[in-house]
Symmetry: C2
């Protein structure tokens, strides 16, 4: 079975890890290949190093190196580099990078500087984390740099754009966002394998990632949305909201910025041109009858505190997809 | 009193730190300013980061952060980054950089990438290490990248050039060197303040640094040698050899490559066009009568195992210089 997923950071990573676990016990022996199309809109150059937060969270989570409680970054991490850079007065200081994590960015930056594409670099990083041996292929959505910027009030009646990370990490999404701009998207091309993975999949799954700044950004890559509309695979998504609130992160602030209600139904509406099924929390309010997306309430809360619960959730999404057929 | 020094790594750093200590107890109250002109020929871009080994050894030693027993690098250092990069297969792996040290290179690389000169970057790094408050000004010999390469046999009857660090660190100077080439020197200009520091000095001191790949490289920067010949200040050097052997490093292999005997007298001969005095070890063989450089044997071995002994040695060199007058 070939499964394609679109993924942001923590939610996407935990979902894919759960999916892998679920497939390991799947009745039909396999092999099953998972292609993960990772959001790179969160990417940022910090301290001169290229940082890809969502790809790294995927690598660390799938490779067994993630800080479990935190959901991102490395376990047994230290922050000596950051302390030194603060002593030197290096800016910015609002973004924290651990020492082990910095090594990933050094490796990536060196290889990019040698002319390798982000796809190639990501594949090399994924080798170290054993993704290929798990049947997981991690692709960046695009090899061209795309950076999500957030347009906010400038305090003088006008507006200014700041990097997504500055808005998310420094301001904790507390500055009202007027809109999001995916800088570089006009020059972006889907990375090698991305469109084929969607078109050739048996199943496409959308993990409970941020619908605006993770899934939404990936959908902006030319050809991705068309591929989702055109694939013969059933496309099933998992709502990122539990009872109308995001499980983590600031999805509500992101939805508010694009004028969409923070409900599972409204989020499904963002994807209704290609979504065949939508898995929601049992406590979720019923969707408006107007939606063309069939909604299925799961029998458990949409939470992934551990690998087992994530495997169960991924299994439910997969079962739902396998029960559907595209014309 | 204005003192100018030319310095390589460990020997230069210990000497200057001793000089600073000596001046603190100097009868004539001061203030005394020390300008250190650091060798940048050892510089190398590793893992995409710009590393300046001699400048860093000067910063760490003068700023109280050096690994004393080792002579270079940071005290209480860890090597987590290096372990990660090895796991990722990042090359080269023959050069070790500690985590705290890496932070220095990240800061430097970021600032250089923002368009600052190496002089400006070095001044910012020196601020953190408190050099200005000690009356020490650290200047790179040049803001243009200059890298010493070593021409060695290629094993097939021909020759090839490798970076100085590869020869020094990876091969421990064990490959016979045919000659040294200072790549980039043809485009190099003395950094702001370098020539003026020599011309306007009251005293110029050459610490016991490697005469070929440290002092020798600095002397190759256009204008430096002329400034040393032309300054009104007495110029006194300290021999890097004790009883015909280098105190540390591979100065003998470097001297062999340029066809110079590994004796204090022969080294003095390299500088005889501008040297007014030459301080040698008491166990040193007498110089040949042909040398025009007056030689003074110190009453103690030319060793700097601690700050006190370095202060005594620097004091002896300074006293010798102050006893001399240029016409």
């Amino acid at each position: 079975m070939r499964i394609a997923t679109l993924a942001g950071g923590v939610g996407g990573s935990r979902f894919v890890r759960g999916l892998r676990r679920h497939l390991d016990g799947f009745a039909d022996g396999g092999p099953h290949e998972i292609t993960v199309i990772g959001n790179t809109g969160d990417d940022i150059t910090l301290w001169g190093l290229r940082v890809c937060p969502d790809l790294d969270t995927l690598l660390y989570t799938l490779g067994g190196g993630v800080h479990e409680a935190q959901g991102w970054g490395r376990t047994e991490e230290t922050h000596r580099i950051q302390g030194e850079l603060a002593a030197y007065g290096v800016q910015p200081q609002w973004f924290g990078l651990g020492d082990l994590d910095v090594a990933t960015h050094i490796a990536r930056s060196q290889w990019l500087g040698q002319g390798h594409t982000l796809s190639e670099v990501t594949a090399r990083l994924a080798d170290r984390w054993g993704l290929p041996t798990q049947g997981i292929r991690l692709l960046p959505m695009s090899d061209e740099p795309v950076e999500t910027h957030v347009v906010v009030d400038d305090g003088a009646g006008g507006e200014r754009a700041i990097h997504f990370q500055e808005w998310w990490v420094r301001h904790q999404a507390g500055l009202p966002a007027r809109r999001f701009v995916a800088v570089g998207m006009d020059r972006a091309v889907a990375a090698p394998g991305v469109l084929d993975a969607i078109r050739g999949a048996d199943v496409v799954l959308l993990p409970p990632s941020n619908p605006v700044v993770s899934i939404g950004i990936i959908l902006g890559v030319p050809g991705v949305r068309d591929a989702l509309r055109g694939t013969t695979a059933p496309v099933v998504g998992v709502s990122p909201l539990v009872g109308g609130a995001p499980v983590r992160g600031h999805a509500d602030a992101c939805l508010a910025a694009i004028g969409v209600e923070a409900t599972s139904a409204a989020v499904a509406g963002l994807f209704e041109d290609f979504l065949d099924g939508w898995l929601v929390d049992p406590a979720d309010p019923a969707p408006p009858a107007a939606s063309r997306v069939p909604v299925t309430a799961w029998d458990r809360p949409l939470l992934m505190p551990d690998v087992e619960s994530a495997a169960a959730l991924a299994g439910a999404a997969l079962d739902l997809a396998l029960s559907l057929q595209r014309a």
